[in-house]
Amino acid sequence: MAEQTATRVSRQSRRRITSSPWLLLAPSIVLLALLFGWPLVQGVLSAFSGDSGLTLGHWQRLFADPYFLQALRNTLLLIVVVVPIQLVLALVMALLMQARPRFSGTHFYLWTIPLAVSELAAGLVWLSVFADRGYLNSFLVNLGLSESGVQWLNYDNTLTMFITVVVAELWRATSLVFVIVVAGVQMIPKDYDEAAQVFGASMWQRLWHVTLPLLRPSLQVALILRTILALQAFAVAQALTGRNFPLLVGETYEWYVNLQNPAVASAAALVVLALSLGTSLAYLRAMRQPDATG
């Protein structure tokens, strides 16, 4: 009797397990744990351990490298400049789409192509524009604006290099923000805007008081995602300038591939991780604040 109930219980529990969603989730969890969790732990360990136990030597080497501080500065500057411009540009593009211009299908196709263009390809595309004998310089000379063109990618001209990287990043990644914002705009019911129109709100008032507040979730997602992705930018700068305009991830690549030092490379990578975790947490906090008080 007791045996019977025991088998029944075990059969029941077995059924519960086989019909449990965790069985379906397990493969993905195992894969992610193996390929994300384990290397993450390994990376942290290798960044802090040397031949004789714990050490900060790798970090000292990293910070002593003049390229590293430059890379840190460049990366942060790039984010501060690119991300706000991208948000505004993408918002403008989404509102233009909303106005249903002629050939909107073609416009939409061309605006979203950069979504599928890799970072490296984007850098090479803009290289054809900004190279010394490239199309921009040809254009300037043909117009008579410049004698022999501007050396945009010259190694001692940090400002123009920065500009080229910013333009290439704007071109490459604005589409991503655009798509997120368009998806958000489409989910806003038309009634709100029409009601505001009936009450005589101007275009700017409707944008500021109706559309933007309703778009907030999409804008938040876009902001966080873009910041994290911008922190990882490197192939654009690599294709345009080589190591003359270092970025953080590019430094990791440099330390691993060319300098053959995985430990310092891990340390540099951890800086990227810390920055992306820090900024996402900061965003989430800043965005929660108004809700908590209001």
Binding site: P21, I29, L35, Q42, S46, H107, L110, A239, Y256
Partner: protein, 289 residues
């Protein structure tokens, strides 16, 4: 008679055309802005295509005319004939296809579970997946390279595939979940009623209905794998994927090679977006949150 009607119509207040005119101006402004943005997005693509198809002499001439003085395919052919280009192309295709299959095998069941079950820990799982998304690939690629070296699978198609699968996993799970949500449960239940086992019901009813969406998700995954540079560059040495190959030979290659490489990497993007246009907003837009 006619003069009389004319005089009465003259008494009518004049039509205020100002709003109409304003509307017209606004439409023109919208149109102009659209064209300007389109030029910004499309012109660089035109330039790289022109650069990839101009001959040696045309590439070196300065200032360039917009239409190159001679069209030639030798830039492209010398890129394709360069050492490692064709094998790298093959590796890229292989890695892309394997990644699609693996990520669907691992991710689709999870997506199905998220779509059909409510269970404790669902939010935790979703949070876990999102966290993984936020991890920069650069943090993982270096320790993974060491790990793969120890396991003896460094510099293999398998190793790059594994990393790309892990990278694609979060989006695959979320996208497939949204696809399975849109397949009604009734058909599945009907199949069960007619005696299908649970697995059979899914195979015979849900999968065919979800197939278009799954195909779109696969293309998305393929693009992700095709475009990934850093992980592939760190994890391979001899068996590079195409982006990794181009990146590795950037420093010592002439500009013609770089333009040709850039063009070769861009072409699939044009095709992908043309095919995916209908799915774009669902894939990149709403599943991102």
């Amino acid at each position: 008679m006619t003069a009389e009607t004319a005089s009465t119509s003259r008494v009518l207040p004049p039509v205020d055309r100002a709003p109409l005119r304003r509307r017209k101006w606004r439409r023109a402004g919208v149109q102009a802005a659209c064209v300007a943005i389109t030029l910004f997005m499309a012109l660089p693509l035109v330039f790289i295509a022109l650069a990839a198809f101009s001959g040696r002499a045309a590439l070196n001439e300065f200032p360039k005319s917009l239409v190159p003085s001679e069209f030639a395919v030798d830039t492209m052919t010398s890129f394709l004939a360069g050492t490692g280009t064709v094998p790298a192309l093959g590796n890229s295709l292989l890695v892309g296809c394997y990644t699609v299959v693996l990520s669907l095998l691992f991710g689709a069941p999870a997506g199905y579970a998220l779509a059909r079950h409510t269970f404790r820990g669902k939010d935790a799982y979703q949070l876990f997946v999102l966290l993984v998304r936020a991890l920069p690939i650069v943090v993982l690629s270096v320790p993974l390279a060491t790990m793969f070296l120890n396991f003896g699978i460094y510099d293999k198609v398998v190793s790059v595939t594994l990393v790309h699968t892990a990278l694609a996993m979060p989006t695959t799970v979320l996208i497939t979940a949204s696809i399975f949500v849109s397949v009604p449960t009734d058909v599945e239940e009907a199949a069960r009623v007619f005696g299908c086992t649970k697995l059979d019901a899914v195979r015979r009813t849900v999968l065919p209905l979800a197939l278009p969406g799954l195909a779109a998700a696969s293309i998305f995954t393929f693009v992700l794998s095709w475009n990934e540079v850093l992980g592939a560059a760190v994890l391979t040495l001899g068996h590079r994927t195409l982006p990794a190959q181009v990146l590795a030979s950037l420093a010592e290659s002439p500009q013609a090679y770089r333009f040709a490489g850039g063009f070769a990497l861009v072409v699939p993007a044009l095709v992908f977006i043309a095919v995916m246009r209908r799915y774009l907003l669902n894939m990149w837009g709403s599943t991102l949150r």
